[in-house]
Amino acid sequence: MGSQIQPEEEDEVSELLAVVLDTSFNSALIKEKNVGQLLDAVVIFSNAHLMNSSKNTLAVVACHPHTAKMIYPVKKDSIQNIRPPDAQMEILAHATQVIRDGIKEVVTSWQGVYSIEPLLTGGMALALCYIAKRMANTVGKLNGRILVLSSSGESAHQYLNFMNVFFAAQRKAIVVDSCVIQNDCGLLQQGADITGGNYLKAPSIAGLLEYLLWVFLPPKSLRAKLVLPKPDVVDYRTACFCHRNLIEVGYVCSVCLSIFCQFAPICSTCQTHFKFIGFKQSMVKKKEQKSLQAPLL
C-alpha cells in the first residue's frame, strides 16, 4: 500500500466484495473444533476489506444444505445500538455482530445431516444479483468480486448452475475467487480460471487468515504487482454423459450438445434419431484444409 499509484483514479473506484461462505462445515472441521477459528478469519478478513477504503462495501452470503441467505447487509436493523469497544469503528463492530448473528441463525435452523451438499450456486447467484444491481445504481466505477470459502470438496450435481454463474460473472467482469479448505473443488477452480480469479487450497484452518489477507484481500488491479502462488493447471477434461468416462475425442449431439463416447443412432438425452453422415463430411473437409495449408510449411 506504500506506493501511491495513480491517486485520482484509485479514489473513484470502490470495491464491493461478496463473501460466499459454505457453512456446512465438514466433519473434520467440527471434530477439531476449528469452526470458531474459521468464523474469526471470515470476520477479520471482512473488516480488513472495509478498512482498506471508506468506499469499500461488503456482502456476506451463507450457504447451508437447506438454504442460502444473504446475512450482511441486513434489511431491517434489529441490532441498532452496538457500542463499539474502544477505538473500534462503528461500521466494523456492526458488521462483526451482524455476520456472527446471521451465521448462527442459518446454522441453527438446520437439523439435517451434513453429508448433503451446501447450496453454493444459490449463494453465488444471490451475490451476483446483488452486485449487478449495485453496479447499475452506482455513479462511479464499482468493481465487484466474489470470494467463495468452502470445505465441502467436489460437487458434481450442480454443474450447470456453476457454469451459468461463472459465465454471468465473466460477462459482468466480476472476479470469482475461491479458497477451499482441505478438499479441492474442480468446479470452483474452473470458475476462477474463467473469471480471472484466484484459486487456492488452504491445507488447514490454522493458516487460513494469512492466506486470505495475502491472496484474496488485494483487489484485482493490485494483484499483478504482487508475488502470488502460481495457479495450477486447470483440468478441463470432459466426461461423457453415458458412462462418465474421461474422453479426449467424443461425439456431440447437434441438437442438444450432449457428449457421448461412442456414436449412437439415437441421442439418449433428446431422443433425436441420427443419420449416419459424420465421416463423409470430415473427409471432404480434410482435403480442403490440406490443399490450403500445404504451402505454409
Binding site: L126, A136, M163, Y236, L257
Partner: protein, 390 residues
C-alpha cells in the same frame, strides 16, 4: 447525468441525436427510466416465449455482408453509417462467440458492384477484428451487389455440414443493388440451399430485400437509430429456430486438455503460424494439443487445421446449454401503492412497480434482477437456494 452531457457536448440537437433515450433518463425514483427499460424488457420476454419448445440450430455458420457503397458515408448514424456499423460489429463479433461457442462467422464487404471477402469462415474472433480494422480507413464507394454477395456466401455455405444452420445477415445502406443477372434466381437458389437471409436496412424498405427475406425465412428490419441497430444485431446473436430441412447428427469433436507450462517442450502453435512467418516467431510452452494429430493451439475453440477436428472444451458447450434449457418467464404482478415487498435476490424494496415471481419457487424479484436473471444469469436464484429444486 443529464447535466454532465449538456456541459460536454453543447446543444443536444447538434450532437446527441442518437442518444435521445438516454436524455429522458430520470433520477433513482423517477419512472421514466423504468418505462424505457420496460419496453426493452417486454420484447425480451416475448422473444423468450417464442423460443420455448423450438428446436434450435445450435451449430451456426453465419455470413455477415457489409455494405461498403457510397451510401454508407451518410451521417444519419453518428459519426457516419459505416463507422457506427463497424463499431457495433466489433462488439457483435465478441458476443457472437460468447453465445455460440461452437459456431463460425465470416465477413463479406460489397462495393463497386462486387463482393469482397474480409474474413474467412472461422471460429476465431481475432481474424474478423483484424478484417474490420482494415475497413475502418477505407472510403466507401460505388454500388453494392446483393447477388454477388449472396453467391459468394452460398459458395462456401453449401459445403457446410447438413446439421448446421446456414445464415446470411446483410447490413445494407444503399437503396439499390447492381447485379449481373436476375436476382430472383439467386433467391430461389438460396432457398434451395437452406440459406436463411436476413437484412438490416439503414435507409428505407426495398422490395427485393423484403422478397429475399420472406422467401428464405429471414427477418427484415429498418433501423431507426443506433440503439435500434444494436438491438437488431443482438437478435442475430441468439441461435435461430432450426429450419425443417436441417439434419441432425452426432458430430465428432476433440476435447484437448491444457498441457502443463513447465513440463512441456516449446513448440510452434498452429494459430500463430502465419504471424510467425512474417514477424516474430511465436514459440510457447503449454497449449492445447489436438487429440487426433497432436498439433498445438493456444486457444479454444478451434478447428484443427491439420485433421479438421473441432476442438472445444466442456465449458464451451455448457455456455450454450442455456439456449436449450431456457429459464421460464417470471409472472408479472403490479404492486399497488403502499404495498412494499423485498426483492429476493438484491434485497431492495419495491413499491408501486412490477414484481416478478418465479412459478417454481414462488420467490419475488425486482425488474432489474428479472432482466439480469433472464438475460445474463439464466438461473433462478430462488430455485438455486432450495435443495429440492436442484
Amino acid at each position: 447525468m443529464a447535466d454532465e452531457d449538456e456541459q460536454q457536448d453543447g446543444y443536444r440537437w447538434e450532437s446527441e441525436y442518437e442518444r435521445t433515450w438516454e436524455a429522458i433518463r430520470e433520477d433513482e425514483s423517477g419512472n421514466l427510466q423504468a418505462s424505457v427499460q420496460e419496453i426493452v424488457h417486454k420484447t425480451r420476454r416475448q422473444q423468450l416465449l417464442l423460443q420455448k419448445n423450438v428446436r434450435l440450430g445450435m451449430m451456426r455458420h453465419l455470413y455477415v455482408v457489409l455494405d461498403l457503397s457510397a451510401s454508407m458515408n451518410s451521417n444519419d448514424l453518428r459519426p457516419s453509417r459505416i463507422q457506427c456499423v463497424l463499431h457495433l460489429l466489433d462488439d457483435f463479433v465478441d458476443r457472437f462467440y460468447d453465445e455460440n461457442p461452437i459456431s463460425q462467422l465470416a465477413i463479406i464487404a460489397t462495393c463497386n458492384k462486387r463482393a469482397e471477402k474480409i474474413s474467412d469462415l472461422s471460429g476465431n474472433p481475432l481474424k474478423h477484428k483484424e478484417g474490420l480494422a482494415k475497413i475502418k480507413d477505407r472510403l466507401p464507394t460505388g454500388e453494392p451487389s446483393l447477388q454477388n454477395s449472396i453467391n459468394m456466401a452460398a459458395a462456401v455455405l453449401q459445403h457446410m455440414p447438413a446439421h448446421s444452420s446456414r445464415e446470411v445477415v446483410i447490413i445494407l445502406g444503399s437503396l439499390t443493388t447492381c447485379d449481373p443477372t436476375d436476382i430472383n434466381e439467386t433467391i430461389e437458389e438460396a432457398k434451395k440451399l437452406g440459406l436463411r437471409c436476413s437484412v438490416i436496412g439503414l435507409a428505407a424498405e426495398v422490395y427485393v430485400c423484403r422478397r429475399l427475406t420472406e422467401i428464405t425465412g429471414g427477418s427484415y428490419h429498418i433501423v431507426v437509430d443506433e440503439d435500434h441497430l444494436r438491438e437488431l444485431l443482438a437478435n442475430h446473436l441468439l441461435p435461430p429456430p432450426a429450419l425443417n430441412n436441417i439434419e441432425c447428427s452426432m458430430v465428432k469433436m476433440g476435447f484437448p486438455f491444457h498441457k502443463n507450462e513447465q513440463e512441456d517442450t516449446p513448440a510452434l502453435c498452429q494459430c500463430h503460424l502465419e504471424a510467425a512467418a512474417t514477424e516474430s516467431v511465436h514459440i510457447t510452452t503449454g497449449g492445447f494439443l489436438c487429440p487426433q494429430c497432436k498439433s498445438k493451439y493456444c486457444e479454444l475453440p478451434a478447428e484443427c487445421r491439420i485433421c479438421g477436428l473441432t476442438l472445444v472444451s466442456a465449458p464451451h458447450l455448457a455456455r450454450s446449454y442455456h439456449h436449450l434449457f431456457p429459464l421460464d418467464n417470471f409472472k408479472e404482478t403490479h404492486l399497488l401503492k403502499g404495498d412494499t415487498r423485498t426483492c429476493f435476490s438484491c434485497q431492495s424494496s419495491v413499491e408501486g412497480q412490477n414484481m416478478y415471481t418465479c412459478e417454481k419457487c414462488k420467490e419475488e424479484f425486482c425488474l432489474d434482477c428479472d432482466i439480469f436473471i433472464h438475460a445474463t444469469l439464466h438461473l433462478c436464484p430462488g430455485c438455486a437456494c432450495k435443495p429440492q429444486m436442484n
